[in-house]
Symmetry: C2
Subunit: 341 residues, 2 copies
DNA sequence: GTGTTTTATGGTAGCGCTGTCATTATTCTT
DNA sequence: AAGAATAATGACAGCGCTACCATAAAACAC
């Protein structure tokens, strides 16, 4: 009767007790061997491992997490998967944790703090060992949980602000500013901006503001500005630049919020016979490989997405505890001069 | 004494018992309300929900999974994150499950069945509700676990083979074959292939074989073939085409295993002043947006990656049980005529 | 009005593992 | 050689939840 429930559940799936019985050891010893924890005699280890292999034992992590009040899960909340930036970050995270026991659970927030909050709470139900999210801007409730939780927190991409524990990324404001200065130095004077309408893309916004402030410091300002109602795709960039040039034929350089859109801009120029760089400069952001493989390599800023993900995950692995003090890691950025501006 | 352990663990984190006490109900009733399961009087539900909100109760999924021998986790194993194809699939999966209780745990296999096996086993420790992986080719051990596990299985991308439960994808062999037929119809006769050396990319291989067999059926064969030692990037495609043309200047069309490489090929042609389509046809695979945004839209095959992910996840959500019989869903593909071949 | 089903709730016993505290054998000090 | 430290193992309770069975009240059948 007592076994009935078990019979219907696990139906032969071996447990620690089964392994212990076969190896002639206590459960706790088997547990220690499996977790590679505490002092174990070589002979014991060998015997247990043989029993594990023979039974094909797979530890039950739900039971383990419950007993130890900690899991091996790492919550990763990303704004989007359409934008290659975030798969790159995820790849970096994955590279760092691939040889560890950590397993990433991922959520996509669509750049919406409320969705982020909802997903975060649902993921906290697993008592994750760490939480990685993008940006420094979260809802008050999310922020409270991040600060009080029994897990480490890394906030990626952005470092202009006050992190919970660890921030890894770059200053997007500064990147925008440097973009402006670079283009002014190149001799451009009539600046256009071809953006998108992703309201919650705080980082694109910060770059935009940095750009404007560089122009201002140089005695200039944007002479034209448009935003694509769709997302920030290549097609959107292409169509938007066409419109922008109809409305403002006098601009001599256009800044796009990302490389995808900038490449759309290039394609429009090729199509319309506009001489890139001389007649119209084009500048992107991200430093995608494909932009650098073009006949005219795109002028842009290299954001180190893979490095950001990898660094953050490595930092989180360093300790089991929450860090005593906040850390900000600036991975920086590189201006890629390219041939389009 | 008995409380000591608890004190050090959860330190105030409210449990079901706390909610039950506050609401004046039994734990099981609270559990039912939280899970939205079984008949509950409206008044009870309201009272419980108020208590949940007041305490900020977050259910402990580890305990829940242990008790019910089932989790809300969905294991997703992808070959790579560098290739945009898989983030697209993941996006589709995410779209399908975003309003459900499922949470994706992802692993990256690097196209290696042994890594896939290792990650699969480590993820099975969570008793996932479903497993999604790419391709139909797995190690015998992995296959055994997939067949015997208490979860549903979907194998994505490929349908040329024998699935465990559900396969969602397209026939890559057929796609390769159609590519060959299409190009022959277009008048091309001297075929070159510019591939990569990802040994485990079974699908690229299947397309290659389909292509060869179409050529054979048309009384033709590849006159030139090279493989880039690196991955399948745009840069690789650009450099490879240059080399291929040096060795075989007579070819009149080149097929690439993906759009990224094909775009590299286009960039080489633009750079070298080769008239695309007339002098040299170029054909890719995937139908990426960026290829269609180019001045000469890339001739390619649209693989429906997002749809594959979404369909698979939806199918998995349909039932809690393993399906009685195997299902193969062909999402098909579209030839995009483009302007490059 | 009696029997039967349905609705709403609760008691209890685990799920499979690990933290805590003991216990015994072994090695090291001086 | 006696005491102290270390290495190796085990007993046992309990983590927070849900499956299972039971019960009581309400609704329904005839």
């Amino acid at each position: 009767m007592a076994r009935k429930r078990n019979a219907n559940r696990t139906a032969g799936t071996p447990t620690l007790a089964d392994v212990a019985r076969l190896a002639g050891m206590s459960e706790i010893t088997v547990s220690r061997v499996v977790r590679n924890q505490g002092p174990i005699a070589d002979a014991t280890r060998t015997r247990v491992q043989a029993a594990v292999a023979q039974l094909g034992y797979i530890p039950n992590r739900a039971a383990g997490s419950l007993a130890s009040a900690a899991s091996t899960l790492m919550t990763v909340l990303l704004p989007s998967l359409s934008n290659i930036v975030f798969p790159d970050v995820l790849r970096g995270i994955h590279t760092a944790i691939t040889e560890t026991a950590f397993q990433p659970v991922i959520g996509v927030t669509d750049y919406d703090p409320l969705i982020e909050e909802r997903i975060l709470l649902s993921f906290l139900a697993w008592q994750p060992a760490a939480v990685i999210l993008a940006g420094l801007h979260h809802t008050p409730i999310a922020r409270k949980h991040l600060e009080q939780g029994r897990f480490r927190v890394a906030e990626l991409m952005d470092i202009d602000g006050d992190p919970v524990d660890i921030a890894v990324g770059m200053s997007h404001r500064q990147a925008g500013y440097e973009t402006g200065r670079h283009l002014i130095k190149r001799g451009y004077r009539k600046f256009g901006y071809a953006g998108h309408m992703l309201v919650h893309d705080d980082r694109a916004k910060a770059r935009y503001e940095g750009l404007c402030s560089a122009l201002q410091d140089g005695g200039l300002s944007l002479v034209a500005e448009m935003r694509s109602p769709g997302g920030g795709s290549t097609i959107a960039g292409r169509e938007l630049l066409e419109k922008l040039l109809v409305a403002h034929p006098d601009i001599d350089v256009v800044i796009f919020p990302n490389d995808d859109m900038a490449m759309g801009g290039i394609f429009h120029c090729i199509h319309a016979g506009i001489v890139i760089k001389e007649r119209l400069g084009i500048f992107g952001f991200n430093g995608l490989d494909i932009g650098q493989a073009m006949p005219l390599p795109l002028s842009t800023i290299l954001s180190k997405r893979f490095l950001i993900g990898k660094t953050a995950a490595e930092k989180l692995l360093e300790s089991r505890e929450r860090p005593a003090e906040k850390t900000i890691i600036n991975t920086g950025f590189d201006i890629i001069e390219g041939a389009t501006a």
